[in-house]
Symmetry: C2
Subunit: 204 residues, 2 copies
DNA sequence: TGTACATCAGTGAACGCGCGTTCACTGATGTAC
DNA sequence: TGTACATCAGTGAACGCGCGTTCACTGATGTAC
């Protein structure tokens, strides 16, 4: 743990987001379940009680970290999609893979981020949770991607209604299992291969 | 929390397994990350230090709980399979569904059990983890089941090599997402439907 | 059958720790006049 | 331009808590003779 910072000014200036940044960083390093408000405050160079001007309780802070990470995952996936432009079946298929890989890579880079937003967030049962299907940008990215595949004939029509749930579940499941050490890393590419073949993606 | 028990004898008799039982129960109720050795000892009616005669540290105890739960999941799945005897394609397909449902039901009944064995087990990074593919009974059950399907012609041959990873990932992913509130409960049956259709299971 | 003794299961007090949260406060800021 | 004052961001000490683990101990047990 680094030495707590020392400020020059009495007022911090932007403590709210400094706390959020520090908390995010520390969640990445140690996991949300080990996050301590006192440690976050110390990291920012502020007394423990200062945090309470911005977050009602520890869980509010963690909640905010979660919300931000959810957006970051969607950003990351969007960036991945942008690298694969094009309107044809080939491009649609490449975007499908890019989307899945982005999910896995994001989670692999920072497993504790993944665990916070998708795992049992242990110390806070009340962290509000989005129902993916209804609210999330990431889900909509997947929807669009599958719709593209369907339009370009790269997806077995009878499977279209199941495509989102199948894809998300499989990609999520493989990611989680790999991250927790239950499956070897290279399983992910197999999973993607299998998923594509089973959905009839890219098979002419 | 119930009152700690009072023993009649000085020696407990079977403290090791009593601690394991209590710990398991308490993991179910509160989650592994909230388990405290002191509380387990109190539940059993023993002083906190007594536990150290059987478990080197708190994490050893939790590790044992995890190992037991892994077996219990496999038992539960085996029980489910026994209800669907038969050698034909129909039976094989029914077993496939039974296996998936058992996984989901077991996890739904005790989410904290599922979280312990598959989730970030937060406070103990050292809890030894099995690689499913190599060591686990549950994985072998799935293998056998898929082999049956394949033999009876109820599984698209080209997908056979991907069947385990696809199935386990999809079933695991859907289960985790539902348990954590990211998908509605009824998604699971859709997932199974989609999975069967995409693998060509039971389609003539 | 009786006794000495080794064994070891379980005790209880203590260690040092870090935590979330509260509270009365003080220091800096900027605005109204 | 200067001053009074309201505002509120940040302080620091304290609260009460439960935790994992250690340690010297004591009580029960069973075995060897």
């Amino acid at each position: 743990m680094a030495m707590p910072k020392v400020r020059e000014t009495y007022h911090h200036g932007d403590l709210e987001s400094a706390l959020l940044d520090a908390a995010t960083k520390m969640v990445g390093a140690d996991g949300a379940e080990h996050l301590s408000l006192r440690a976050v405050a110390a990291e920012v160079g502020v007394s423990p009680s200062a945090a309470y001007h911005y977050y009602q309780e520890k869980d509010s802070l963690i909640s905010c970290v979660g919300a931000r990470l959810f957006e970051e995952l969607a950003d990351f996936q969007e960036q991945a999609l942008l690298k694969v432009p094009g309107k044809g079946a080939r491009a649609a298929r490449a975007r499908f893979r890019a989307l899945g890989r982005a999910y896995f890579e994001w989670a692999s880079m920072e497993p504790n981020f993944f665990r916070l937003i998708f795992g049992c967030y242990c110390s806070a049962d009340e962290v509000e949770v989005e129902v993916l299907r209804d609210n999330s940008r990431a889900w909509r990215l997947l929807q669009t991607c599958l719709e593209d595949l369907y339009r370009t004939g790269g997806l077995i029509p009878a499977l279209r209604p199941y495509a989102e749930i199948l894809t998300w579940s499989a990609v999520h499941g493989a990611t989680a299992l790999i991250i927790e050490g239950h499956l070897p890393k290279d399983s992910f590419e197999s999973l993607l291969d299998g998923l594509e073949r089973s959905l009839g993606i890219g098979i002419k």
